[in-house]
């Protein structure tokens, strides 16, 4: 393939494994950011390749390698794995540490995210979904991102943490800056603001605990009866903020974008409104096809993986969207089959760091779609979409999605 420039790669990377690829860059005219991944094999990229962009990193393109990297935490660590390398970055609890250290906060959080715990949230989720949709259903159209997909997971976050819904505008503002701003000064101030909010929240719950996630984290005790280190508590709150908002927002946006253009799919989901099990099978397929996250890992020691020499601290990208359309695993991988029988997608990762919020995320999407279709059974893309509203990076998506009905 032709490279516009010959970038520098470390000397352990053979030239035939180098591809010029910037996963933040969605070229003008590309209306779906996922496309930047799916042309790579056609461009001649080897299944494990190295790009010098964004500090330099490997990319895995095979399901089997991606899954192995997820599971092999002894070789592929989550600690300090950011691409491009960011120092210092908070050590996220529990996602930013490896087993066995990882198990402490994982076990602490697990009971609050089991299917049983998430089912108990159903009423609150339904009420808030219904309320948001009622706010614009009579208008005949909306910006799905601003009016729903950004608000709903953020309001769920407030509920989980026992915070009043009146703080929704404040949290929308700080999360929008966190996920979208590229200005280093704005980002630094924003991080300070987020940590100040978390500090205040956990201090308050430390003094007077309630029946919420923040209280559970701050009240938890280690095996010797002590509170967990304060910085870990704050960083755990930060993880839940980072992991649970933008991912759900953009997955929803992808799902609604697809449904807006597919009358058959809308009809299928409407037919299943009273059959939650069949509804969920169809949701899983939309999870497979709309995997917005690409995950980072860091190589822990010099080693050879699948015949490729890797060095300690090399960064790896695991694009879930690629794994989910691997033809060696999925029949007709490019076809959206809402009745797909076997669907081992990796949208929530696999192995010890499997997205702890996966059940909540799926339920948020399922309830949103049920409430939406009951109120707005038919909808389509508005002709006046905002240009240049797509973005790549670790979570791909859209800044806006204009719908009408």
């Amino acid at each position: 393939m032709t490279l516009l420039y010959q970038p520098a790669a470390p000397d352990h990377v053979p030239p035939e494994l180098i591809v010029d690829f910037d996963f933040f860059d969605v070229p003008p005219g590309v209306s779906d950011p996922v496309r930047i991944w799916h042309g790579l094999t056609e461009r001649g990229a080897p299944p494990i390749f190295y790009t010098p962009r964004n500090g330099g990193h490997w990319v895995f393109l095979r399901y089997v390698d991606i899954v192995e990297a997820y599971r092999n935490h002894e070789m592929f660590s989550t600690r300090g794995a950011q691409v491009p390398p960011l120092e210092p970055y908070p050590v996220l609890q529990p996602n930013g540490v490896d087993p066995p250290e990882h198990d402490v906060f994982r076990k602490l959080l697990a009971p609050m995210f089991t299917p049983l715990a998430v089912r108990r949230m159903t009423d609150g989720l339904q009420r808030r979904a219904e309320g948001l949709i009622a706010g614009f259903a009579d208008r005949g159209g909306c910006d799905f991102v601003a009016d729903y997909a950004a608000k709903f997971p953020t309001s769920t976050f407030l509920e989980l943490f026992g915070l009043p819904q009146s703080r929704l505008p404040e949290f929308l503002r700080i999360s929008d800056t966190f996920f979208r701003s590229t200005d280093p000064e704005v980002r630094a101030a924003n991080l300070q603001e987020i940590f100040a909010v978390l500090e205040e929240l956990f201090r308050e719950r430390d003094r007077s605990p309630g029946n919420d996630l923040a209280s559970a984290i701050v009240q938890a005790r280690d095996s010797e009866g002590r509170q967990h280190p304060w910085q870990d508590i704050i960083n755990c709150g930060f993880l839940l903020f980072v992991a649970g908002l933008d991912t759900v927002t953009n997955t929803m946006t992808y799902v609604w974008r697809y449904l807006a253009t597919s009358p058959d799919a809308r009809a299928k989901f409407r037919d299943r409104l009273d059959d939650p099990a069949a509804f969920m099978i169809a949701i899983e397929e939309l999870m497979r096809i709309n995997a917005v996250s690409t995950i980072y890992r860091r190589v822990t020691h010099d080693s050879v993986f699948k015949g490729v020499q890797m060095r300690r601290n090399d960064r790896i990208l695991l694009p879930n969207t690629i794994a989910n359309r691997d033809a060696t695993v999925f029949q007709n991988p490019g076809t959206i089959d809402l009745d797909r029988k076997v669907n081992n997608h990796v949208t929530f990762g696999v192995g010890p760091h499997r997205c702890i919020g996966s059940h909540l995320a799926k339920r948020e999407i399922m309830i949103s779609l049920q409430e939406w279709l009951r109120r707005i059974p038919e909808f389509e893309l508005a002709p006046d979409q905002r240009e240049a509203s797509v973005f790549g990076g670790p979570v791909m998506g859209f800044e806006s999605l204009m719908l009408r009905w």
Binding site: P111, F113, T114, P115, V342, R354
Partner: protein, 68 residues
């Protein structure tokens, strides 16, 4: 027919419970698979097989088993 679950491999995706809640459940602490009564009723065999094939961790295995 019985299903054997490897709890070290299970990461709590709960796909099995979604697909066949008549046979699979998940616990309230770690969210891992629980099989209360291992012998699969004949009418559930097909559903159970499908759930096993949908485990993203390959943590479920079908084995022959008679009444205990």
């Amino acid at each position: 027919m019985i299903v054997i679950a490897n709890l070290k491999m299970c990461q709590g995706h709960a796909r099995c419970e979604d697909l066949c809640p008549e046979y699979f459940a998940t616990d309230a602490v770690e969210g891992k698979v629980v099989i209360a009564s291992p012998e699969v009723p004949p009418e559930l065999e097909e559903k159970v097989r499908l759930a096993v094939r949908n485990c993203p961790e390959g943590a479920l295995r079908i084995a022959k088993g008679g009444a205990a």
